[in-house]
Structures are given as structure tokens and as C-alpha cells.
């Protein structure tokens, strides 16, 4: 890893008063959240609660209308000059995204590339890392998600679970310090969910900082350090899995959990 190391006390992700509207619909109403280095944070809540939108604000796939988002202490998407925040040029936003990996609900593997090419692609194009060493690193990542033997296959030739694991390897290839997961198992057949969750457990064990939007309550309970329940564009409640699942304080949290547990 050649990423500049981060002072331990700096949170990996710090959101302060994040607001976001689509037209007249306010989907995020002042969200505060902090994720420390090495933590696994799970975001749960009903659909339309704003949790996916919030996740997409973390790497500026959505612009924010208000508030400040910091990743590794750095302001996302804006530069502070004096008292004012200036929107960043797209090339600078791209640089910020390099070390934030993202895994999507619909995998979004590059359809015209094999599994190996998908993993090799971004390091080659963005960082100019090519050649046998890069290839070996990509094959090791595929090994880590259990798909080295499938390196030469195109996404259309892989099952959903395999595609999602390649997508995780592709994100890891950029050596991220933070991984975002947007409902990574929601589009999978039930029997394929386990393999993907196993890979994610492995990442968590290795100390990767992860923010996971999920409906897999079992995974959240077992792996998460903190669980945050969102509803209607606000954070209703957050705590350790034991606190949130065992002793929810809010009625809305109790109502939601009674439906999904």
C-alpha cells in the first residue's frame, strides 16, 4: 500500500449536516455521521429513507445541497478558500474518488472486459500501473474473492454472486482506504448471497473501513461496529448492533425491526 498514512484520530468519514433534494423532494435532512478508521458501519432503513443517496454523497456521485462531507479529513467535492466553499473541478473530484471504493447493487462490471480486465482496468488507466506486477496483483485479488479460475470470463458468463465478487476485487484494485457498499446482495439469488458476505467479512477482518447499506440484518449484527437506522431522510438512531437490535430506543426503529427480523 502506498497511500499516505492517516493520523489515527482523524475519522475516515465525517458528515455534518448533509442535505440533499431532488426537485422539491428533500431526501436528506441534515445527516450527521462519523465512521472511524477500521470500523464497519451498516446503514439500515426502509427503501426511500435516503441511505443509498447518503452513501453516494460520500464519493460525490451525488452533489450535496448543504453541509460538509469529509473523507480522511479532506473535504469532498469542495475546496475552502477563505470563508467560501468552491466546487471542485471534475478532474480533482476524480482524484478524490481514487481511494474510495464502491460496490453497486447491480454490480456494474464493465461488460466488454473479462473479469481480469475489469480488475486491471482502473489501476492501468488512472495510475498507469501496468505490466506483469499489476497483472499478478489483479490475479491475487481475484484469488482473494475466490475467482482466480474465472479470470478470462466476461461478466455475462458469470453468476450474479460471482459478478459482485469481481466488482469487489475491481474496487480493491485501487487500494481504497474506505469501501462503500450499496445494497451489495439485494440483486442476488438467495443462495448466492453467502459467498459475497463471506468476502465482505474477510475484508472487515483485515481492518478495511467499510460503510454498508444493507438489508442483511444478520450480517449487520455479526460484522458491524455501529448500525445506523435511517428513515425519512434523517438518522433516527444509531449504536452498536447489540444496542440497536437488542434495545432500540425509538418507536420507528422498533417498528422497522419488527418487520425485518
Amino acid at each position: 500500500m502506498n497511500i499516505p498514512s492517516l493520523a489515527l484520530e482523524v475519522p475516515m468519514m465525517e458528515a455534518r449536516g448533509i442535505r440533499k433534494s431532488f426537485g422539491h423532494l428533500e431526501v436528506l435532512k441534515s445527516i450527521d455521521m462519523t465512521v472511524q478508521q477500521g470500523e464497519v458501519a451498516c446503514l439500515i432503513g426502509p427503501s426511500g429513507s435516503g441511505k443509498s443517496t447518503f452513501l453516494r454523497c460520500i464519493n460525490h456521485l451525488e452533489t450535496v445541497d448543504g453541509g460538509q462531507m469529509r473523507v480522511a479529513g479532506e473535504l469532498v467535492g469542495y475546496t475552502r478558500r477563505g470563508n467560501k466553499l468552491h466546487e471542485m473541478r471534475p478532474a480533482d473530484v476524480a482524484k478524490q474518488r481514487k481511494h474510495v471504493g464502491m460496490v453497486f447493487q447491480r454490480f456494474n462490471l464493465f461488460a466488454h472486459m473479462t473479469a481480469l480486465e475489469n480488475v486491471l482496468f482502473a489501476p492501468g488507466v488512472v495510475d498507469g500501473r501496468r505490466g506483469p506486477a499489476a497483472r499478478e496483483a489483479a490475479l491475487e485479488l481475484l484469488e482473494r474473492v475466490g475467482l482466480r479460475a474465472w479470470a478470462g470470463h466476461y461478466p455475462a458468463q458469470l453468476s450474479g454472486g460471482q459478478q459482485q465478487r469481481v466488482a469487489i476485487a475491481r474496487a480493491l484494485a485501487m487500494q481504497p482506504r474506505l469501501m462503500l457498499f450499496d445494497e451489495p446482495t439485494s440483486a442476488l439469488d438467495p443462495e448466492l448471497v453467502g459467498d459475497v458476505l463471506d468476502v465482505m467479512r474477510g475484508l472487515a477482518r483485515d481492518g478495511m473501513t467499510m460503510i454498508v447499506v444493507t438489508h442483511e440484518m444478520g450480517f449487520a449484527r455479526e460484522v458491524a461496529d455501529t448500525v445506523t437506522f435511517m428513515d425519512g431522510g434523517v438518522v433516527v438512531e444509531s449504536g452498536t448492533p447489540a444496542e440497536l437490535f437488542g434495545n432500540p430506543q425509538q418507536d420507528r426503529t422498533r417498528a422497522f425491526l419488527s418487520k425485518v427480523l
Binding site: N59, L61, A91, A94, M102, F110, A156
Partner: protein, 300 residues
Amino acid sequence: MIPLRHPFRWITGALTVAVLAAALLSLASNPNLDTPTVLQYLFHPAIIRGLGTTIWLTVVAMVLGLAGGTVVAVMRLSANPVLRYVATAYIWFFRGTPLLVQIIFWGFLGALYPVLSLGIPLTEITFAQIATSTAIGATAASLIALTTNEAAYAAEIVRAGILAVDSGQAEAASALGLTGAQTTFRVVLPQAMRVIVPPMGNETITMLKSTSLVSVIGGADLLSNAQSIYAQNFKVIPLLVVVALWFLVLTSVLTIGQGFLERRFGRGINRTGPSGGFVARWISSRRDKALRIESEEQHQ
């Protein structure tokens, strides 16, 4: 079990044979067709030269037209409103006027601007000047007309191709830290090619035949040269047969090439097997077999 009979196939087959035989007999017995003259001129140097011009006009106009069309398509989908309007106006103008009119216009550009000069606008200072008819001859005018017109059509085809690519692809590329240009040229356009290639194949065949329109400004293409021969010997029909035969040969070659391209850009998407003509299918199935063996060896 007795399979269903298909008597109608036999009837249509017999009718087709009868009509074809009648047409061929009538042509063969018609002295005006003049087969010896057709054969005499089929490989005549002027015809071969014209054929060469037709081929390179097609190739260069298609390559430049596709490149220009891609630029116009990207401009039309740009977030910059000025670029968007410029691209829309370009397409409106070049699709809105007949190609034949555009060809004649470029051929007679000298009537609009007799002299082309390089200098500083609004001053008397000029560095160089040249007569328009010298700078832009008939062939150059032909190429400009075909290219600018093709770019307008190609732009719409490329735009449709770009819109057909799932937006998640561009999102995944952005999330990996790619810039907008890298995303467009490395992720979106390669996948758009799958949608772009079949209509561009048609465009190429149309372009091949449209090159014959430049004969109105003496573009030295296949038809121009055939016309100048029959203007002297009055053997109009045999020379038009020569032209038609060469066009059939060229379009057949293009049709086979299109099959190859469709397969190449369908990589990773088409699992159901190769598209395109039977020749392309045969050759690519052999290549697939070779690849399979190679990848199996790698696995071991």
C-alpha cells in the same frame, strides 16, 4: 412419422427459377447488352482508376465522418449548452439539405469565395492566398462534401449508441477515479460500438454508392470515368453494367466485413453465438475454438 410437407416452397422455387431464366435469356439474346464490351472494359485502366478513387473516397469519408460524428455526438450530449446547440445546428443543416446539393455546392465553392487567403481579419495583412478552384479540386470537394454529410448522420448513430449504454457503467468508472474523458473513451464508447456498428455498416454501403454522386462535379470516381468512356463510344449500357458489377463486388465484401465487426464489438454481450454472414461465422468459430484451447491450457 411423416414430416409436414411444404408444397408452397416448391411452387415459389419453381416460379423464381422461371422468372430468373426468362430474364437471363432475354438479356443474353439482347445485342444491346454487348457482353464482349462489358468484358473488354471490366478491367480497363480508367475503370480501375475510378474504382480506386471510389474505394478511397468511401474509406476516408467514412473514417473522417465517423470521427467527426463522434465529436458531434459527444458535443450533443455535453453539459455545455453552447456545444449542444452547435452540434444540433450542424446536424440540422447537413441532414436538412440533399447530399447532391452539398456536393455541387462544394464543387462550385469558387463561385462563392473565388480566393482563399490567410491573414488577419479586418486588416489588409495577408500571408498567403490561393484561387479556390486550385486549392479545392473536384476530388477534394467530393471528399469534403461526403465527410461533412456523413458526420451528421454518424453523430446521430453514435449518440444512440452512447444512450444505449447503461448509466451504471459510467458511474462505476467515475467511482474508480476515472475522469470524464477516460470514462467516455474507455468505458462508454467501446460498449456503444455494439449498437453503432450495424447501422454504420449500412452507412458504409450507402456511402460506397453515394460516391457515384460526385460524378456531377467530375470527381474521377468509378461512375465519372465510365461516363467519360461512354461519352466517346456511346456504349452506355455495357459500361453501366461494368459499374454495377464492381459495386456488387464491393458491397458483398463490405457485408462480410460487417459481420466480423459486429462480432468483435459484441464481445461479452452476445452469448448466443456469432452474428453476421456465414463466412464470418465460420472463421470466428474456428478462432473461438483456438481461444478456448488456449485458455484451458492456461487454467492447467
